[in-house]
């Protein structure tokens, strides 16, 4: 569904993502974990088209989308829920959701179904996005991405800055999406949550993917070691595995 080949992304002199390759099959849920500054958000933004890679290719459903602008990638079936939500603050919840349908892709997701999936938004439909709580904002951001009827959804830190209750609400709504067979790439700081929803986990450190395995074949400790880059210092079997 989505394939990344040898991707390098730079911020000026800094190489934020180095030689990253992986692929996602239809219906797979990949959790991407890693410390702050490991390159997760940059990788997602590069896949979505907000940041041009300096090397490598991005394939969506077999088509090379590396040179397409972001809006054409949405039309091709890719949607990003950006870090920090990035809602249009002066516009209402409903307007934000309708904007998600700008690419005009046909599919199951309509305004009515979004409100069904995120009941907390029903009462807030006419409210300005800037007046929403964090949880409501996140639900709107996810709903806005779903309105484009994507084949692949990139979720960047959906629980960042939310109260625990709001995180539970957002994930409760997400579970229906996860169960629907969508292909998802998820960046999540909370390892327990990431492991509970994902079918596969990848760990990034200093711009590289240092571990990429199915959830069933990986332990929490292995992920933690990769997360902190211990494999480099510690050596041994784990280093070979990562």
């Amino acid at each position: 569904m989505l394939a990344i080949e040898g991707l390098d992304v730079r911020h000026g002199q800094l190489v934020a993502v180095r030689d990253v390759s992986f692929s996602l099959e239809q219906g797979e849920i990949l959790a991407l974990v890693g410390a702050n500054g490991a390159g997760k958000t940059t990788l997602l933004r590069a896949i979505a088209g907000a940041h041009a890679p300096s090397m490598g290719r991005i394939l969506l459903g077999g088509e090379d989308v590396t040179l397409l602008p972001a809006d054409r990638r949405v039309a091709a079936g890719l949607a990003l829920v950006p870090e920090g939500r990035r809602l249009f603050a002066d516009m209402t919840v409903e307007e934000n959701l309708l904007l998600g349908a700008s690419a005009g892709r046909p599919g199951d997701w309509t305004l009515a179904r979004i409100f069904e999936a995120f009941p907390i938004l029903v009462k807030r439909r006419g409210a300005k996005a800037s007046s929403l709580s964090g949880g409501e904002q996140q639900a709107t951001a996810i709903g806005r991405a779903l309105m484009s009827n994507p084949n692949v959804i990139l979720l960047d830190e959906v629980s960042l800055g939310l109260a625990p209750l709001a995180v539970r609400q957002v994930y409760a709504s997400l579970h229906r999406l996860l169960a629907s067979g969508a292909t998802i790439l998820l960046v999540e700081q909370d390892l327990t949550r990431a492991m509970s929803v994902a079918s596969r986990v990848a760990c990034m450190s200093e711009g590289r993917i240092v571990l990429d395995r199915p959830i069933a074949a990986v332990t929490r400790d292995e992920i933690t070691d990769a997360y902190f880059g211990l494999n480099k210092a510690g050596g041994g079997n784990q280093a070979a595995a990562c």
């Binding site: 088209g49 972001a70 809006d71 249009f88 904007l99």
Partner: protein
Amino acid sequence: MLNQLIQGILLGGYYALIAIGLSFMFSVMRVINLAHGSLLIVAAYALWFLADTYGVNPFLGLLIVLPLMAGIGWALQRFLLERSARGGSLLPILTTFGLAIVVDNLMFQRFGADTRSLAPFIGDLSWSSFELPGGLFVGKLSVLIFLTAILLVGGLQSLLKFTPLGRAIRATAQDPDTARLVGIDAARASAAAAAIALVTIGIAGAFLGMRGVFDAYAGAPQLLFAFEAAVIGGTGSLWGTLIGGIFLALAQSFGAMVHPQGFLIGGHLAFLAALFYRHFVARQLVADWLRSRARRPA
């Protein structure tokens, strides 16, 4: 007194009409278009040319000139403003300033120094009037201009609020990067916004030519009035622009009552007063209002 009030309000409609394009471009594209006045004159000359050479009624001429203006707007955004915006926020202002000089002088070269008017081509509309009870007379053209301004503001607001294109234009104005990420072709939305702005300039240019005379360098004073109306009304608010135009015209009328040469001074004083008011007083009022809103339970 009542007469002055009514005439002032109608004149305000005209100021609002010539300011709408400027206000629209600033609010949705964050561009201060200093070529605004010159483009008004371009539309007026185009209509005059059609009327003078081919005998086309200026109202019918709009059918030709408005699509032309839309095309100019689209090209302006695609080839000038979009490129200059990459060089920082100051560059588009300088670009439009340069454009104004080029356009003014091209028109001077083509049409010379004679003043022109569209009034001879619209029958008795430019001088006939309605009589109101109480022996007051209002010009038919002034009433038409006022109604056009209201219709145009209402139409643009509805377009921005209720159509997918309007939402795309607003989203692009707020945050072009995120607009692209939700699937909006930001360059197309901006070009459409510029085309719409130039159509309103085309309509305003037609009425400018009908209610008076113009020459190649008549754009700058028009830009000044449009700018004052837009700023008094609160830049970025189209209904505010209508109010701003009326406020400016009333201030000018009262200035003229006080002193024969007080017309312009009155307008400029109103402009400065509005500026100071907004800077020192309104800021405090808005802060208070936001605080009281924040306290109210959601």
